[in-house]
Symmetry: C2
Subunit: 273 residues, 2 copies
Amino acid sequence: MGDASESRFELDTAVERAAEGWGCDLRQRWHTGEGLNGGYLLAVMVRAMLGEAERPDPVTVTAHFLARPAAGPAKVRTEVVKRGRTFTTVTGVLLQDGRELIRTIGAFGDLATQSGPSRISTQPPDMPRPEECVPFSDMLQRAGRRTPEFQNQFDLRLPADSPWFGPKEGEPYEMTGWIRFRDGTEPSTTSAVAFIDAFPPALLGSMRAGGAPTVELTAHVRARPAPGWLLGTYRTRVLLDGLMEEDGELWDCEGRPVALSRQLALVLPARGD
Amino acid sequence: MGDASESRFELDTAVERAAEGWGCDLRQRWHTGEGLNGGYLLAVMVRAMLGEAERPDPVTVTAHFLARPAAGPAKVRTEVVKRGRTFTTVTGVLLQDGRELIRTIGAFGDLATQSGPSRISTQPPDMPRPEECVPFSDMLQRAGRRTPEFQNQFDLRLPADSPWFGPKEGEPYEMTGWIRFRDGTEPSTTSAVAFIDAFPPALLGSMRAGGAPTVELTAHVRARPAPGWLLGTYRTRVLLDGLMEEDGELWDCEGRPVALSRQLALVLPARGD
């Protein structure tokens, strides 16, 4: 599919220059059950910041999630911190009813003209092909769990023996899966920030918890993805006093590293505990 | 050593409330040869942000390095984004002569009262004891390289067979070493942000390059360190078109994970190339 006007991601993350910043409309269909998906919200803000930066790629973006936005109109206020030779640094503030809900900062550049040495000493994890994997929503259904609404935007597939449902004692919490947009929209450096947060927290597969709200998320987008599936792999190594990091990697179907991410999240007690 | 007034780190990162923000004096002895050490600069800013947050620990801090500060007086302007139940979110701007050089954002909390589940599925790497390791400055001297001035603040020791001088083909760039302040100052959650950037880039041990200026650095401080040595381990997996990430971990001498960090840096061509 090449027509952006038919892409749900493009439509739902659209921003429009307004009196003070950028106007947008946050869509209910990106709801997780707890709130709007953080990657979706970040993608909306990245589109406003890209507009301000006048550079095509979000190279490193950090978001602090302060409170949960609701579906509906919102405003993104942007500020150019510096227009440099290689990057434009921009901050963003997401507001609803005048209240600040998310603060971002990012450096925007052009990955197509970026040049210098390359040396990659890691590879995408071994995985069965997408056709051999199980849709995540099927897995949830079998486990008697509901599929979060925003997952309907994605086609997310995990290997049949995914450790998501029961990691071994002492092993890191981790999960690996294939992902793409369900409507056929091809991935981009902008949607990479949404894909990076579209996987369920590795830890929640095996632990009773009341959710894992993100405090801070940083995504480095390193390459423009080839059309097709993305491979995502996620890992939590240190859950300490209710705080955990989650490290993510996104690879395109040609084996290129598209994005590296890390977030810090609070692990809430399960309801009723 | 318990007297903060005799600690060089405490003295050199001191900030004082001024008319608009915080005044500080950036000290030449934290110079790397290219500029003042990023971890030192971040520690100065963290001290101002902590003053504003009125909470004791920097739990996640992100810095965008826009231009190099010089030794001498500087100002840190701080803004409280939100005072929440668990964290206070604060931004910082480092200015010299009215010019913005570094922008930060961080969430500050209290790791002593933070509570919730814990599960750690990683360990500090195997290492010979500090007494069996080689001072980094000795290694540099043997290799005919000069010790950067700021390294005199630290006692940094690497194993005699450190892969820093010659990683194997295809292996990740990585290094592991012991570190502490040379004057005996014990580590803290504030100095953790300086320690995290005190190791030489893993990649520069084996590659001719004109330096690796940090674009963005995010540090998660996860625990208050025990007195004594810290173990730091650093790894670069994806150097792509002159951009690399460097992932760091800091462990205290009791095996507690003190900090996780990731930075995005530009790898500059070697002089004369």
